[in-house]
Symmetry: C2
């Protein structure tokens, strides 16, 4: 086994190739392995077909140190992966009474009878180990052969994810193939592009030869992952380097790890026992939804108002008719009135608002499609930011929401509640 | 070339394997090809590494009739795909002045100078055809060699998707490898599971030997795709079969094609010049967002109110304090009061509401976590449906929204506005 083992993932499923379902297994398994220092070298999706499975598994097994398969372990005649893999490995399939007992017990709990089909799932290749599946009938399979490792996992995510975490990763760690602790330290940033970030952090990284540095840009954020690389830096070294990056980045530093922006804001407000409400037009509920994905959101988030016309803005948010008439619904003045209005209506400390033209139609010469105003109302002041985004409706919505969240995060870090002042539209 | 050509997709990108980004190219390209009758046989994701690219491209090219690659056409030193593919094909790279001119013109339009790096992008393998890229610098490449076809596409979706549609699909059609018209007719259903649907439609399909039938379940919906299969049925035959399915399915039939549920409702209300508003607690903006993803949503959708506490439900939706005190915020009575309240506040014809416990905490003995009430207010009556969903917070939210949309769709189809009656909670 090399010190940098080759790991490949085989995902079975016709729906993936027909474009019906996105390949979520790749993102999840790749991410979990990377977190433990094991870099997935390849992922192959192919049809649930005897010849395809045989060919691809054989190739993959020859080339790799570790092979992970997902899907094809079900009880129907189409589910052939177990049989073909056993054949390629030259291992007989052996009946396991303990698997039958577990499946029967599961059906009994659900008040059902086990179907005869399920007997198929009670066979394991000789020498393989059973990976228990508390969330479904298909048991996982773990096998070591010729110094290589095989993990066969069921297709449904609700069964696969816990099995990966509780059974596969620990076995890979025990075999010395990946690390128990986090393999990298991640710095989450927002507001600087990938190349700009690289330039700002290079002077720090240049002092540490061999340090592992990887940049990952997504949805307006850029994450930087620091790992020991060839330099064999200690955990403490890496923490110190990360701290130096945090200082250099100032307000562009979001957090260590991968906390989503709404959760960063939620944690801040929760610690200060403050509350928030949001008002939206063009983002149409996406901003509220970002907060309500957080378990326990109601401790901070009181509610949101989506206003798609002027009457609703006046009636529900108390935006003055004069402002709408003079400046229009897409304007700095309306954005601020929405943020203040929603905070008043819902009696919250903070209000965050988005108004704009998400397209494809709408827009004016001064405010063409893609123009977004973000309004922010806090105990210490009121702000407005104007943005212009290219792209399609759904893209503009997502970028506007991420930017609104980032505006709020920055202001929260910059101003304390005690900085209370006469409410005004600040320029910074 | 076989009548059932083998097509493979190679996607390059370290982020995919590190779990940072989902492989959207697979879903998009697989779906587009299937729509034109070409079934993707395999997708392989691997690292942007010279040896990996060489090995996988060589294998894939040997095995396939058509190979599509995505990514690796950029201007940096890491972007090697063009060079390696040319080497494997034994084709020299030839400088193309027209590509340089196009890239220079693009930079000029953006008020920038072309970087020297970009010269790399001006080379094509001898015998290849240029696929123009109006949305970026990387030109696509199309090549026919030894009776096989190669399409090399840039990585960013905004460049890839239009190039696939406007240049690759038409060339595949001209080469007789796929169909100009839609290869299948899709029936979208909701409310019946995949196996139940199969049972109901089997008596129809049994009359047409060789008819191609594929079921695809996703997000509570099941799509049925009918294609000519081995029977060589005509377009008209398939349309008649689809009509028979529609009749059999009754209210479980949603539409032909792939119109999303919110759009089905939008089109219905738009045709009748009716308006809608929504009120949500546990789904937290996701229901409003489903409607506001539709371009021109404001013609039907007036707004939404997300209420995370009782005060907000009373203040913004006019839910009577008595109802909240007697029945609780998660109850049929509150759901109906929310639907009626939001329709009144926003002066719309229809109101749709969701209240429930999305988890992980909350819930009562009568209404445990996962319990959802859907309220629906229409000119002809008011309804409430109670549901219980297993799963995590985000899953419960999604399923509740889909179910709320389906409840509304069914009622819209069943009752005309003229059926107006005394408002009551109907049992069906």
């Amino acid at each position: 086994m090399s010190s940098n083992p080759r790991v490949e993932l085989l995902t079975l499923g016709d729906e993936l190739l027909l474009g019906i379902r996105a390949n979520g297994h790749l993102a999840h398994i790749g991410g979990e392995l990377a977190r433990h220092g094991l870099i997935l070298r390849r992922n192959c999706c192919f049809r649930d077909d005897v010849d395809e499975i045989r060919e691809f598994f054989q190739d993959s097994w020859e080339r790799s140190d570790i092979v992970i398969t997902t899907g094809g372990l079900g009880p129907t005649v189409d589910d052939n992966t177990r049989e073909i893999v056993a054949e390629v490995l030259g291992a007989e399939l052996v009946f396991r009474q303990d698997i039958e007992d577990a499946i029967r017990a599961r059906f009994k709990r659900l008040g059902k009878e086990m179907s005869k089909n399920n007997l198929k799932q009670c066979y394991l290749p000789a020498g393989a180990e059973l990976l228990p599946n508390p969330y479904g009938t298909a048991p996982g399979i773990w096998m070591e052969k010729d110094g290589k490792y095989l993990a066969m996992l069921p297709g449904p995510s609700s069964e696969l994810y816990p099995m990966l975490k509780e059974h596969v990763i620990p076995r890979l760690c025990s075999a010395g193939l990946c690390r128990h602790d986090e393999a990298y330290l991640q710095i989450r940033t927002m507001g600087v592009g990938e190349s700009g970030l690289e330039e700002r952090l290079r002077p720090i990284f240049d002092q540490y030869a061999g340090l592992g540095v990887a940049y990952c840009a997504h949805q307006g954020m850029v994450d930087v992952r620091l790992s020991r690389g060839k330099g064999e830096y200690s955990r403490a070294d890496i923490q110190n380097i990360a701290k130096a990056c945090q200082e250099e980045l100032g307000p562009d530093f979001v957090c260590f790890g991968d906390t989503p922006l709404p959760k960063v804001i939620f944690d801040h407000l929760r610690a200060e026992e403050r509350t928030l409400a949001v008002a939206e037009s063009c983002t149409g509920g996406l901003l509220a939804n970002a907060f309500t994905d957080i378990p326990g959101a109601s401790k901070v988030f009181t509610g949101g108002i989506v206003c798609y016309n002027n009457d609703a803005k006046m009636e529900l948010l108390g935006v003055p008719e004069d402002i709408l008439a003079q400046h229009g619904a897409v304007s700095a003045e309306t954005a601020v009135a929405m943020a203040t209005g929603v905070a008043e209506r819902l009696s919250t400390d903070y209000g965050l608002s988005v108004t704009g033209f998400a397209g494809p139609s709408g827009g004016t010469p001064e405010n063409p499609v893609g123009t977004i105003y973000i309004g922010y109302h806090a105990p210490c002041g009121t702000w407005c930011i104007r943005m212009k985004y290219p792209g399609e409706r759904v893209t503009v919505k997502t970028r506007a929401v991420n930017r609104a969240l980032d505006v709020m995060r920055r202001k929260l870090n910059k101003y304390k509640v005690e900085d209370a002042m006469v409410t005004l539209i600040r320029a910074d």
